[in-house]
Symmetry: C2
Subunit: 412 residues, 2 copies
């Protein structure tokens, strides 16, 4: 894994604490306990969003109503700042990333868990795409990840087992979210290069577009961007609705997504609540065919060394945002390469220390009791699996092992 180029270090986020004094965080026992308590307060499986403040009035963007985003699990305020140590670099050679700083402190993190709900809301991508290098889009079931060219129509099917009578009271919201905790709070918007190309559409800043004429764009200044399409009756004899979406920036766009991995989140919503949710990873690139092959190939390689992480992708797991809890003086030691590391023991093996991919946190947890230890361990594993610093090529099936591998160190 040495020498590879992960995602988004070229942002205004402070990459690894080398330019100033902020240091890796340490969890104290009581802080760890707080996290556990929060976790216990919202246990799996499906958690109905505790605060359903979703749009009770107007879902058509650009209105004046206040509009609340997807509610999030109510983690402590801190939880919304997983990376408080960011620093705005003034180095002008870096195109600044859309950090939406004005909103950062109030924005909530949209929920991303898969949740079909009572209408059994599911999303499907056609499997028939060829895997040529530059196929316009292709979906990896294995990775649960969409690979798509910028600005190419990508048909997506939405299925509901028990389609409600009143279609008009339902709509589908599409939204993109950065999938790593450090960037949850950044809104996904187009890069400066692709914006302001003059077309002055009202939704010019939106990465995700729906080709459907009835779609409308939500982007009140303090809100995440999303596209909303009123539900239509499905084609006769079917229970699904198909819509074409487009992505108007690449994952690599400098100053925009900036190589930061993203998720695509669809929610089925009605006037007063979210009734179903789907999410998957998206990569918007120039060669979906090449890249899916590469990522699946790497995933397979990782996969062959582990078998036990299946649970970590169960839909009933809730997303957790780990708050930063302390500062430690001293530079973080660089991760040593573990070249050609042999099969890593499953997560039940204790005494792994863990260091995140970007080198910001140094989690050094002292846990009293083996049960506690195992619980925390599972928590951390799941957290990292959902939001951790996983390499672009990782997939749900291989995350676990990979995660452990990446965190090997420093535990006595």
């Amino acid at each position: 894994m040495d020498g590879q180029q992960p995602y988004y270090n070229q942002t205004n986020w402070h990459p690894n604490g080398q330019d100033n004094d902020e240091m890796p965080y340490l969890l104290t026992n009581s802080q760890t306990q707080r996290i556990i308590e929060n976790l216990v307060e919202s246990p799996p499986p499906f958690i109905e969003d505790p605060v359903l403040t979703v749009d009770t009035g107007n879902f058509m963007g650009h209105g004046t109503n206040t509009y609340n985003e997807f509610p999030s699990h109510q983690l402590p305020e801190q939880a919304y700042h997983p990376n408080n140590d960011y620093v705005i670099h003034e180095e002008q050679s870096h195109i600044p990333v859309n950090t939406n700083s004005s909103f950062m402190s109030v924005s909530q993190i949209p929920a991303m868990e898969l949740w079909p709900g009572h209408l059994n809301f599911t999303v499907e991508f056609s499997n028939t795409q060829d895997r040529t290098k530059a196929t316009p889009w292709i979906f990896s079931t294995k990775l649960k990840k969409l690979f798509v060219c910028m600005d190419k129509a990508c048909p997506i099917s939405f299925r509901m087992d028990n389609l409600p009578q009143e279609y008009t009271k339902y709509w589908i919201r599409g939204q993109m979210v950065f999938s790593k905790a450090d960037h949850f709070h950044d809104h996904v918007e187009r890069c400066p290069g692709h914006m302001g190309m003059g077309s002055s559409l009202s939704y010019e800043t939106h990465v995700l577009r729906c080709e459907d004429k009835t779609s409308s764009y939500v982007d009140h200044s303090d809100k995440r961007h999303s596209v909303v399409v009123p539900l239509k009756p499905p084609a006769p004899g079917t229970q699904s609705v198909s819509l074409c979406y487009k992505f108007m920036c690449r994952s690599s766009c400098p100053g925009g997504l900036n190589r930061r991995p993203t998720k695509l989140v669809f929610t089925l919503e009605t006037l007063d609540q979210v009734v179903g949710r789907y999410s998957c990873d998206v990569r918007i690139c120039s060669c979906p065919g090449r890249d899916i092959r590469a990522e699946e190939g790497k995933a397979e390689k990782n996969h062959s060394t582990e078998q036990t992480s299946k649970e970590s992708e169960a839909p009933e797991l809730i997303p957790i945002v780990l708050p930063p809890i302390g500062l430690q003086k001293g530079k973080m030691k660089k991760r040593k390469a573990t070249p050609a590391a042999p099969p890593i023991p499953p997560p039940t093996e204790p005494s792994e220390d863990q260091e995140d991919d970007e080198g910001i946190y140094n989690l050094n947890i002292n846990i009293p009791g083996r049960r506690n230890y195992l619980f925390i361990k599972d928590f951390v594993t799941r957290f990292l699996n959902d939001y951790g610093s996983l390499p672009v090529d990782s997939n749900k099936h291989s995350h676990h092992n990979d995660t452990l591998k990446r965190f090997k160190k420093e535990q006595p």
Copy 2:
């Protein structure tokens, strides 16, 4: 040379005629003759710019005076549109390149030839830079090319053998120009990502900056961007003045330079004329050390197969812009790979047909008479050497052979 990725096809310029019907140009005999006539009208060696309309009033940018750029050799109007077949792609996935279209039809091409003039104006880069991969800047004497990081100060010495008494009446203008004919008419400006980062400097759009406090920026809406610094008395005992310059975009910046090679042009000017000129290639990149090694290495390889093109870099050669002169119906055939081509015969070898690097032109010249043939051939060679489709890695010493290699085809 197959598979390599040259410069700037991802522009709004139409790359190779595949999306619409414009076709490669053919020179007719009479058209060829016109070129020759033009060439003869402005014979080498040093040509004082025939129309010296340079700033007779105010060199401080942002004034209201009309300000004429560097004069150019007076080629036919057409000559200023070497690539009339451009098409603005509306495909939004391509960040539009600054084509300065409003100005394109009136802009003149700045002269770029080396011309010390009677004051023996020369420019020097320190040789002491280390060649580490990311050295902030380094100059290749061999390639006559500056490799420099974005936004790093690069000290440049200007030397005049007979420094005039009245410094205040002289100034040094720095300017960047695209070095390939297809892009002469584009002004070199910053990319959208690097512009509008809020600093709202009046010279925010300028790629080339001079750190000297007395510098001023010229960018009247219809003019090329340049930095002007009043000449100062040289340090006692010396005859040179040192100034620090910075480059605020990379050569690779999407929507900006966009991988198009550029030249850096300095002119010593006085109130009513240009009295000296220097130019070299510039590459603004992230790893000057790596890239200089790569380019010199490749140059050396090419160099080893030819010896006769030395003349083509003599300073007394004037730059020539070849106008597009006709359309031919039918798709251009793709160049066949000439893998591991053995040493190419020197340019005196006749019967080479030539096809340009970007596949736009098909020069198919029928020339009556061997002398004419040789003359044209030399002309073409020199032209290509100065402005032709040479690969990034080519250098003055290796252009010739490389050029011929790249044009091998289609001649019966």
